[in-house]
């Protein structure tokens, strides 16, 4: 039996899907199973079926805007990855509910994880531990949740994404074992037997022009450079404010640039008051750089090559969280097949997301974790 496996099943009832996934993954005693599925599947039933077949595994999952492995890609199916004990020494996961607020939910989930990873999360060795976090894709709580994760364990990396639903942005789910939530987050923590590395690429070019955010509230930026945000944005692009549409916004997002690396904040729309609504939080006083379209294929290849170089013995597997906007762009460019071939060097599982997380919530990005 293998110690790493993945499979993609396109149709079936939950029991037959679970059976087929297990046979095709071929991992005898998995310690972690990640399941990503079309939103029309019931995550609780899928989770229960997977748990029944792998009693020692932590099982987490979410709905998607498309799924992929190194062998297949599409949407409307169920994909899964199983990691055995040679990769994951121990694992635990907890559902964070947001009913009593994000902070209460994330702290409670971290407290559950702490019982499995004593003495506490903040003292764990970041070289041997990595987190995976799956958020629901519609409640917009990712910014605050990432902050709380940083408070609980400032040196640990949590990598993940927000669930999707056919690009309808109506209802998504996340699952932990057989529990499913439409609003919440699943936090998994792994102690690994192998080195891990983080992949992150946004595939945009920095134009060099910067805006100072002079008035903002959570995900709404009212003013940049002392002007209505959309006015400042339009002026820099040299277009009339009425010409700002979805195409302009997706081609020219803004980003916090740290050491040359863009952490993208995607503008979604312009309000009648000429404010801009973003898909992630922006603080007053932040400097945002204006971006222009880059080469998704080339940049992703470089990012993967860079991260794979951390594993001279080879990469055993990778988990990837790819922005659904990138999927749309790749579809439009006819590059989807070429894109997925980039993940074919080793067993991979990924899905198209409504937001990506690594240290913070971001947009229009691909993040992932490689297990060496």
């Amino acid at each position: 039996m293998a110690d790493v496996g993945r499979a993609y099943v396109r149709v079936g009832d939950p029991a037959s899907i679970a059976d087929e996934l297990f046979v095709r993954m071929g991992v005898d005693d998995p310690r972690l199973i990640v399941v990503v599925a079309d939103v029309d599947y019931d995550g609780a039933i899928l989770g229960r079926q997977m748990c029944a077949r792998a009693p020692r595994a932590t099982v987490i999952g979410c709905s998607t805007a498309g799924e992929f492995t190194d062998q297949a890609y599409g949407h409307g199916g169920v994909a899964a990855m199983a990691l055995g004990p040679s990769v994951v020494v121990r694992s635990a996961a907890a559902m964070a509910t947001f009913d009593q607020g994000v902070e209460v939910g994330i702290r409670a989930a971290c407290a559950k994880l702490s019982k499995c990873f004593e003495p506490n999360l903040r003292d764990l060795d970041p070289d041997r531990h990595v987190g995976i976090v799956l958020f629901d894709g519609t409640s917009g709580r990712e910014d605050e949740a990432n902050d709380i994760l940083a408070h609980m364990s400032p040196f640990l990396s949590f990598v993940g994404g927000s669930a999707g639903d056919h690009l309808e942005f109506a209802k998504t789910w996340v699952s932990c074992g057989s529990e499913t939530r439409a609003e919440g987050a699943v936090i998994a923590l792994l102690e690994t037997n192998v080195p891990t590395s983080i992949v992150k690429t946004a595939s945009f070019v920095n134009t060099g022009f910067r805006f100072l955010v002079t008035r903002a509230d959570k995900r709404v930026v009212h003013e940049m450079n002392g002007k209505p945000a959309a006015q400042a944005y339009a002026e820099e692009l040299g277009i009339d404010i009425q010409k700002i549409d979805e195409n302009v916004l997706s081609r020219h997002p803004l980003a916090i640039v740290i050491d040359g690396d863009p952490w993208v904040r995607s503008p979604l729309l312009v309000t009648p008051a000429r404010a801009m609504v973003f898909a992630s939080r922006v603080h007053e006083g932040t400097e945002l750089s204006l971006l222009a379209p880059g080469d998704i294929l080339g940049d992703t290849r470089k990012a993967l090559t860079r991260s794979r170089a951390f594993h001279p013995q080879g990469v055993r597997s990778g988990l990837f969280f790819n922005c659904a906007h990138r999927r749309l762009l790749l579809d439009a460019l006819g590059q989807m097949s070429a894109y997925h071939s980039l993940f074919a060097d080793h067993p991979s599982l990924g899905f198209h997301t409504y937001g990506e997380s690594y240290l913070a919530h971001m947009n229009s990005t691909m993040v992932g974790v490689l297990f060496g």
């Binding site: 990432n146 740290i258 006083g285």
Partner: protein, 74 residues
């Protein structure tokens, strides 16, 4: 109220590692919009930016003057 530069010095003293400082600083920038390395002066700011950074560092369990065992628990 400490300046950003003073906060940076206190944090590096506590962490003792520039690699860890860079990691935490990235988290800080993303969480607050402010870098510990920002040496610019904002006279109209009234210290709000440094206060925001200090608050975030405290929430992360740093600069609290408490031994490691008394920091925020996971």
């Amino acid at each position: 109220m400490q300046t950003l530069g003073e906060l940076r010095e206190l944090l590096i003293e506590e962490l003792g590692s520039h690699a860890e400082l860079c990691f935490i600083n990235t988290r800080l920038i993303l969480a607050t919009g402010v870098s510990l390395d920002d040496s610019r002066v904002y006279p109209a700011d009234g210290g709000k930016r440094a206060a925001r950074v200090a608050d975030e560092l405290h929430k992360m369990g740093f600069l609290n003057g408490a031994p490691a065992g008394d920091r925020i628990r996971g």
